[in-house]
Subunit: 354 residues, 2 copies
Amino acid sequence: MNKLINDTYLCAALSEPVERTPVWMMRQAGRYLPEYRAIREQAGDFMSLCKNPQLACEVTLQPLERYPLDAAILFSDILTIPDAMGLGLYFKEGEGPCFEHPVRTAADVAKLPVPNPSDTLSYVMDAVSVIRKELNNRVPLIGFSGSPWTLATYMVEGCSSKDYRRIKGMMFSEPRTLHKLLDKLADSVIAYLNAQVESGAQALMIFDTWGGVLTERDYKEFSLSYMQKIVSGITTVAEGRKVPVTLFTKNGGQWLDAMAETGCDCLGVDWTMDLSKARAMVGDKVALQGNMDPSILYGSPERIKQEVATILESYGKGTGHVFNLGHGIHQFVDPENAGVFINAVHELSPKYHT
Amino acid sequence: MNKLINDTYLCAALSEPVERTPVWMMRQAGRYLPEYRAIREQAGDFMSLCKNPQLACEVTLQPLERYPLDAAILFSDILTIPDAMGLGLYFKEGEGPCFEHPVRTAADVAKLPVPNPSDTLSYVMDAVSVIRKELNNRVPLIGFSGSPWTLATYMVEGCSSKDYRRIKGMMFSEPRTLHKLLDKLADSVIAYLNAQVESGAQALMIFDTWGGVLTERDYKEFSLSYMQKIVSGITTVAEGRKVPVTLFTKNGGQWLDAMAETGCDCLGVDWTMDLSKARAMVGDKVALQGNMDPSILYGSPERIKQEVATILESYGKGTGHVFNLGHGIHQFVDPENAGVFINAVHELSPKYHT
């Protein structure tokens, strides 16, 4: 492969010096873009879009055509692994993702396969290869997976849940069954992420959407320890370069110190935690990604620029900051405002890197 | 009024010595109790139950008949104030509370009245008086209100919201309008809580359900400062005794130090924050209330007792701990398990108070 033209994202995520703060947006390929909605309509449903490598590539690259983003992220779903395990993923209008065959018992867990990425998940690897080729080394490509705890939450609940009654029921009543499920998921995620790197992903991110509904004790035992296992098991170098790994637990700000001990390179931070506090918690162990409230993008261009300035200042001088939203961009945001945000990071950040 | 028979809740919330840790449950009068469901059916809808002082008293006392709880809490809704402002509160099946006339503009805010508690909210004061009389000094009665930010969230969104698009839109685009609304709500809450104390409430709690969706900066400016105003404006002594005030921001664990500066007596803590960390953050400035994950009540009696022991140990020795769940009790919990929880706190806590 040729040399990356813009590698600021990789450098910042590895706490190496940069000239300005890199920026990308979670869910940057998404419904707020009219060109995305057009392709989505063409594909039919959401999973058909994920499973079509050419179309997945097209939507992955759409935001890069509009904005000078410093990274691309594979367009896919966090629930591809349980889908490949045969649980029958489908999307219920207004309810989000559901499974036809939820996992409820020790027998259910025992019969789950560890999916072979080059078999039932080959469409993801094909998408990674195609995107990487089309990106043509402009910016790095981030691969990703859901965390074992987050995948297990969907698999056990069956649909989105308000009180996590079933997964917590299993956690409190049959912790060993849950540990077996999480361990199998960790093995599956390792194989899945390694295959993504082999297909061309240059960085990895693990999304722990639901770790933040646990106590600190349960978070460490049922979510963090399996992310730790993944960090220890995945490929760390590709094409002669370190592959930065980012962990993101939504509502996990109070546990950043423990997360920094996993050996990952970067931690995602949501907007409820001030970055100066977050940086004080983790020291120079890891880089930080975040953390603008996505709702700011409903505000005026002036308000957006002001918030970018405040967040750059809260992180302070030096490398180790990847600018991002604290969660995915909302579907009703005006794409113009996303551009204001991206440009503001590039304009206002150089003085923090002199 | 006669002397309270069991005042451990008041003492612990004021960080005065106790012989064992007091305990009550948020939403202890609720759908998990068959006797509650019977009264609720008799009343018709939820607001008819709130607006009938005799029935509100009956459901308030139901959990005290079953369990040796150390406090009663007024049965009411957090949205009585906006309802009294004329916004037309109603409950949409599966969606929670909604308003017929949401607040969207500066003109909407300007025409909102500050409700007179003895007029449009007299049903609440009548309920407080009746409950207090029926309680007959067994345990103290806690009055409560929603926080200005939380009330404003419902009033501006109109219904429950996933992304808080409208209230945050107002916050970012028209902060002065939002400040006017919050200030009017703070005045209304002060009058409302003072009237509850005058009617017999012996302690107060402010529920800030949605403060945790803000950044630290926005939380301090738009939620905490108005709770501060309320703490400074409410009656602090009734019947010759201090009225403890508890603030609770769900998902606000990272801001406990700032909350402790308001002059309140006690802070509610959800289960994502370890109590030893919380105690280290606030020192001896305030007592702490919490923080068992309500989902533990789906577990076995042994698991429940084990969790109670872990939480007592995480708080450690000395007064200043009011045991509670980290959020309201879930509707599908077996009432027997709630009893196991309450009894475990009473059995296991004396050794922390010698």
